[in-house]
Each structure stands twice: as structure tokens, then as C-alpha cells.
Subunit: 178 residues, 2 copies
């Protein structure tokens, strides 16, 4: 499709902890002007950790926007200049204590393309060995292992609703025939 | 898990077209204070339209944050007070011209629970009959039908990367055995 919105001007309207927000004025293909809300951040890596006996490791974490605990795959923001693969290895160990022998990229996800530029790099991790979780000082996370079938049921029942987790787990299940 | 972040104060820092942004000060379980960036919006509905011959209707749309065209399932924001199911029916017809005999809710997705409260209501639409697409005046969207197998390949190859589309299509494929 021949289609593009040319940037006319852009204004930084909010500088937050993990996001910046810009109001961008664009020219539409019909020549009219419009404004777009754009949330920018550094992106993140997420991991579907699959054990040798067919379990998936998930974490529980309180998320302020919806005021509730979410069950998600382990994930975390990229540090400045950090390669997504290194971030995935680091976050898996910090949040769950597991180290992975093998990491395979399965997906680069755009969680919210309508208003955010965030990219989420999703990996399957296998060859897992268990150590101690080392969450950041102000991070309150607990990890638990579930049979893959139970995890897929949790998606169908609406217990797992986080997009990176739903997309990553369903794609991993398809690729690994879980 | 016993875990909650109590709101101490909240400040509206940006009022945009489709989002508002708040900076929320919270008390962590260890008694420390922290701030959370929270993007709020009204939510949206999205539809996986499956034709009687096993095709899926997708739309192409330019998305400013990543400066590119995305291939997505049809979707749109809830109007004020609009029921998600009505929004799904409306957006399907506006963006693709199709009317659905049957609509089945399969998922309520949180695209970005870390910093946004957005809920995405995802439906499978079947019993489709084709009419004329009626996009909003300043909406530039084109719809196209693809065999389900090709759509699943587009996810595995990284051509479809939008979270609602990846999650919705993979779940629909699993439920309908596509």
C-alpha cells in the first residue's frame, strides 16, 4: 500500500521513568493535518522458559495500570545499549533463577502499534538449570512452573491476558507442538 | 501473592487524542515510594474474521510510532459508552465491508500491562457476507483475504507482529483447528 504520514512537527510532552510521550503533527495522504500520540520506550525482552519435562515457568507481578497481579512470562526492559538476547538471559535468571543452555528468538512483537513504538523480543529458552532468583531491590516477583497444557488452558480461560505472554506461549506451543 | 501498590498521589501529565498519561506515586510493599507511568485509554475491540472457506480477513494500516504499514486484524477504539461487541461489529464493517452472522468472544487482552491500562476485546467472526468498506474520513485502510495457513506462516516469519493480531489469530487457529 502506498501510504505514509509525513512528520510536520513533534513535541516531547512527557518524560517518564520508562516512557516518553510525544505529540506528533503529521500530514495525511489527503493533505490534511492530524496529531498522533506516540509513546516511546527502549523495548524489552521476554522469555518462554520450557523445562525438559514440558513445563513453562511463569512469574506473578503486580501491575499498577490495572491494579492487579498478572501471570506473565519472564520479561524486562533493555538496559541502555543492551542486546535483546543478553537482556533475555539476564531477566530469566533475575526473575526465576533459571539459566538456559539454549535461547531461540521466535518473535518481535509490537504490543501497541497504534500509539507506542515498543518492540518486544521474545525467545524460547530450553536446557534450563535452576539457581536462585535475584530480583531488583524494588521488584516483587514470584516464579512458578506449570505443565504446558495447564498454561494453554489458562489462556483459553482468560487467566493469562498479557499480550507478550499469550502471543509467546501460543507460538511456542505451535512450534514445539506442546 | 500478597502484593499491592497503594496510590499515594496521581497527576495527569498529558491529555492526548487517544490516550491520557498519569504519573502515579505508589507505596511499595517494603514501604518505599516509587512513581509509575500509566497510560490510560478507553480500550478497543478486534476481530478475527474467518470466512467459510478458511480464509482470514486482514487490514493494512500505517502506524506512526514505528513509521510503517502493519498487517493486522480489523480493530478500533470503543466509542464512549459503546459495548465491545457493538464496536467489533461496527469496526469489522467499516474497515472490511464484511458483516458477521456470529461473533464469539475469545480473549480480553492487556497489550501492555506494565504501563497501560488498555483492554482489547477480541472476537472470532464467522458467517461473513461482503458489502462495502466504510472507513472513517481520515482513515486509510485496505482489507484483504488470506488462507489461514498463509496467515500463520506470516506470524512465524515475522510479517505479522502486532500483538492483538498474533494473539488473536493463534488462539483462533487453536480453537478452530485452522
Amino acid at each position: 500500500m502506498e501510504y505514509f504520514e509525513k512528520t510536520i512537527s513533534s513535541e516531547l510532552v512527557y518524560k517518564g521513568n520508562i516512557i516518553n510521550v510525544e505529540r506528533v503533527t503529521v500530514e495525511l495522504p489527503n493533505g490534511k493535518l492530524a496529531t498522533r500520540d506516540v509513546v516511546r520506550n527502549r523495548g524489552a525482552a521476554a522469555i518462554v522458559p520450557v523445562t525438559s519435562d514440558g513445563c513453562i515457568i511463569l512469574v506473578e507481578q503486580f501491575r499498577k495500570p490495572n491494579e492487579r497481579v498478572f501471570i506473565e512470562i519472564p520479561a524486562g526492559k533493555l538496559d541502555e545499549g543492551e542486546a535483546p538476547e543478553n537482556c533475555a538471559i539476564r531477566e530469566l535468571e533475575e526473575e526465576t533463577g533459571y539459566r538456559a543452555e539454549s535461547l531461540k528468538k521466535i518473535l518481535t512483537l509490537n504490543p501497541t502499534p497504534a500509539f507506542a513504538d515498543e518492540l518486544l523480543h521474545i525467545y524460547i529458552a530450553t536446557g534450563l538449570t535452576k539457581g536462585e532468583a535475584k530480583p531488583d531491590e524494588d521488584e516483587f516477583i514470584s516464579a512458578k512452573s506449570y505443565p504446558a497444557k495447564e498454561v494453554l488452558d489458562m489462556i483459553e480461560k482468560g487467566i493469562i491476558t498479557d499480550s507478550k505472554s499469550v502471543a509467546g506461549i501460543l507460538l511456542a506451543a505451535r512450534m514445539l507442538k506442546l
